[in-house]
Amino acid sequence: MAATPLLEISGINKGFGPVQVLHDVGLSVYPGEVTALVGDNGAGKSTLVKCISGIYTIDSGTVTFDGNQVAIHSPRDASALGIEVVYQDLALCDNLDIVQNMFLGREKKRGIVLDEPTMEQMAGDTLASLSVRTVKSLRQLVASLSGGQRQTVAIAKAVLWNSKIVILDEPTAALGVAQTAQVLELVRRLADNGLGVVLISHNMNDVFAVSDRIAALYLGRMAAQVKTTDVTHSQVVELITAGRSGNLGLPPEKPADFGGDVVDITPGGDK
């Protein structure tokens, strides 16, 4: 496994008005590995992803990409670095076909005319590199695809641009058993192709099936980032629900840290 992380963030703080959502969060993403980002609802997973992808700007902290410190101010900056996000709702146009969707907003042109043969060929090559070998036609409308196939198209769209990091937000949430297996296989293959993959998931089975590392967020803090082989199922669940498990995770909260006698355990909120 590669020793230096492709993307390393540290000390990230992000708040919305009075609500502090991320406290001093650090995360390392290694090329060729799947890093699972887990955490309960409201732990700050989506906020962290939106900070990495440039939708939110961070309040403080550093982002290091490929050894260089970078500032990501917009989604465009993120894609320029090679960071692509596949959102849960996929953002595909039902009335366009597979090729048209994959190149949406970044069409190849010859003069003012769309260069359809080139786009179709590139789309075909990308799908083939992901070992997607059977679609009826690359010119099929996305509307006629199954959930798993749509997820595949969305992922293929993300890797089409020589991206280095792909962040997947709950890719299996809406899928059946067989399709989940297919998508997980695809996620594994992305990492095997040398990409850094961040997989956000609630599903422990999925996480243990494909990930190399697990990063657990707890109430806006990074509870632990561990190798998947070093932990058990129940330890991860404890990290998610309590922030600590044995000697892993956040230090025990000292009552002295709190000013009053009332301990507020309301999560910071996800938004």
Binding site: C93, E107, V113, P117, R133, A143, S144
Partner: protein, 418 residues
């Protein structure tokens, strides 16, 4: 049916289509709710047969030529409306916008003595400005297009009255201008253009097959390509043959033959906008915004700019429609572009197969739907029906077309083929 899989484009296996599988796929799409222009074409054939049997003058070459001149305004406005409808918006002011632009051109020609080559551009710019204002109000201020264009509908109706000084009629005497939607091409030019159109279509089709085959991509089966070219060739050449017949009642006084000048103008805009929608990234973005605005926004498409641009194209085409209407009547009055013009235009687009829900439609829909409307209007007129009866019948046809659209959409959602 035998299908052979072929390895193409870096290893993705896809089914190599044959003529049989191509037809099968098409039928599957139709059954899945993707009807396109099929109902309109069937309707056009049935209506033409009914009118033709009831009145043999319906099939005369004189009447055939008339259809183009009568339908031109509706077809031009419908072409522009298709852009607006593709985004799921509506432009109710297109009819009177065409009236206003028609009035501008007539006033400049007659009252100010301008020539056509200066007056027509001013009318077109008027259309563009109107479209920009409408689009700005919808995209940037965020008023629903229904409300904006309803207000504009009333406003332009008033503006037309004001421009015409309270309801007078301005007639145009510019010979070239009046010829646009009244006169015909010479027989020689009719044939030259018809053959050029067929050859150009064949060249485009073969070029497409060749450039895809060169990259080892799946191509449409040769049979289908030849069928398409042959079909268009028969259609254009037969129509040209009919239109180049002598159709004057008394040829000795005033010979009347050749393709109406307005036909190549319709053809030009049909090709232009089909090219823009199908072959440019702008067109792709229009479909994307109509299909899934959020996905388009995340893909970095300037959604607001696209929204404004479709209203600009819509009103620009309305201006062309207005110019054609004024040319046809050789005059403009407060009702130019009023009355049923707007509803006929929306009807033409929808009957032709453009969806009111956005994301689905082609420019050819305007021509096919416009032909249905023109045939109903003309045929019922020949049969001696009153205007009232014509309106009722057209209204029913529009309702049927909208029902087909809505039902096809439901069916498509059920079969996952929206």
């Amino acid at each position: 049916m035998t299908t052979t899989t072929t390895t193409t484009a870096g290893g993705v296996k896809v089914v190599k289509p044959t003529v049989g599988s191509y037809i099968n796929d098409y039928w599957g799409r139709v059954r899945g709710g993707d009807l396109g222009s099929l109902p309109a074409i069937l309707g056009l054939i049935v209506l033409s047969l009914i009118f033709g049997i009831a009145r043999d003058t319906f099939f005369s070459s004189l009447n055939f030529a008339n259809l183009f001149n009568q339908g031109a305004q509706v077809v031009f406005i419908a072409m522009g409306l298709i852009f607006v409808l593709l985004l799921g918006e509506i432009d109710l002011s297109a009819g009177f916008a065409s009236g206003v632009c028609g009035a501008v051109v007539a006033i400049l020609l007659t009252n100010h003595g301008w020539d056509w080559y200066t007056a027509i551009p001013v009318a077109l710019v008027t259309g563009i400005v109107i479209g920009f204002v409408l689009g700005f109000l919808v995209a940037k201020i965020g008023i629903p297009s229904f409300v904006v264009t309803l207000a504009a509908f009333l406003g332009f109706q008033g503006l037309l009255l004001v421009l015409l000084g309270g309801g007078t009629n301005i007639s145009t005497r510019n010979e070239f201008f009046n010829s646009l939607n009244n006169d015909n091409l010479s027989v020689t030019w009719s044939w030259i253009l018809a053959i050029a159109a067929v050859l150009a279509y064949a060249a485009v089709q073969f070029n497409q097959v060749r450039s895809r085959a060169k990259r080892n991509l799946v191509t449409d089966p040769l049979g289908v390509v030849l069928l398409r070219i042959g079909g268009l060739a028969v259609l254009i050449l037969v129509a040209t043959a009919i239109l180049t017949q002598e159709r004057a009642i008394n040829p000795a006084i005033n010979s009347l033959k050749g393709v109406p000048i307005v036909v190549p103008i319709i053809g030009f805009f049909l090709v232009l906008w089909t090219f823009v929608l199908g072959r440019t990234s702008y067109g792709r973005h229009v479909y994307a915004v109509g299909g899934n605005t959020e996905a388009a926004r995340r893909a970095g498409i300037p959604v607001d700019r696209i929204r404004i641009s479709v209203f600009v194209i819509g009103s620009f085409m309305a201006a062309i429609g207005g110019i054609m209407a004024v040319s046809r009547a050789s005059s403009v009055d407060p009702n130019t572009g009023g009355s049923n013009i707007l509803l006929y235009s929306v009807g033409a687009a929808v009957i032709g197969g453009t969806s009111l829900f956005g994301g689905k439609g082609k420019i050819i829909n305007a021509v096919i739907g416009g032909a249905v409307i023109a045939v109903i209007d003309n045929g019922m007129g020949l049969l001696g029906f009153s205007s009232g009866q014509k309106f009722i019948f057209t209204g029913v046809i529009l309702l049927i077309a909208a029902s087909v659209d809505a039902l096809a959409r439901r069916r498509a959602a059920a079969t996952g083929n929206r």
